[in-house]
Amino acid sequence: MNCKVIDLGIIDYKEAYALQQKYAKEVLDGSDQVLILCEHPTVLTMGRLAKESNVLYSKDKLKEIGVDVLGIDRGGDVTLHAKGQLVAYPILNLANYGKDLRKYLFKLEQVVIDLLSDFDIVANRLSGKTGAWVGDKKIASIGIGVRKWVSIHGLALNVNTDLNHFAMINPCGLNVSMTSVSQVLGRDIEINEVKQVLIDCFCSQFGMKKGQ
């Protein structure tokens, strides 16, 4: 199977969401599966199970600093996106992978674990807490939405994100600390250094070749 990799660079969340919908329709109609890569300007997204109390800044404060709060159709609680965070939206037909939501989430976790291993970072799963963790700190968040077994949304890996942004929220409602690839390694890592590794780990995990 070919994987169409689309790098959107830095893009507004809503624009990227509209593109996910477009590609989801194409994948449902039989086109190659897609991996969208991007970064978002700072935004908070509220999954279907999100509690407003997990947004720690007031609405006025968020408005003042120009951060939108968007309700979206993915699982999970509140998530923060910001520059320096590599976001991956796989648009996959999960019928190709056994129509199993849990197995799909497990494979997304494995992509992040394999990717970080390439940077000599040991990341783990924590039972009952979907995502990728380095020690007790969260480095990647995962949440998906599925229609007709085609997936949208995906994973967000902190590469060189300013971790001070996370003061706005209680990430995923878990009361945990976040970390980033740069913080763990103690040196600045550019997003582009991570992108290609992510593409390789993703294609390997899902049995695909990068196509045009």
């Binding site: 999954g47 159709d73 993915r74 699982g75 129509k99 199993d100 979907t130 949440g143």
Partner: protein
């Protein structure tokens, strides 16, 4: 009448929570339309109807935890008049 049930969502997933309905009782739906969105921890999933017709009943509520196989809604299947004429 056709019952729309929560399908299998994967190994070890026995329950999901109703997030929202895309239609109300009395609405007409076409085969393959998504009827309801459910959520399991980190995933949302949309449950489609496999028949066309009018929604005659909705048996679960938003926020309710439901089990795989549980009936979510009922649809009065529309008759295929063309095939009857033939």
């Amino acid at each position: 009448m056709v019952e729309i049930k929560l399908p299998e969502l994967g190994e070890d997933i026995e329950k999901a929570t109703v997030a929202c309905f895309h239609y109300n009782i009395g609405d007409h739906v076409n085969a393959d339309d998504d009827i309801v969105e459910v959520v399991t921890d980190k995933a949302t999933f949309n449950v489609p109807t496999n028949v066309s017709g009018d929604i005659s009943n909705i048996l679960v509520a938003v926020g309710q935890e439901i089990e795989v196989g549980q009936v979510i809604a009922c649809i009065d299947e529309e008759k295929n008049y063309e095939s009857e004429i033939q």
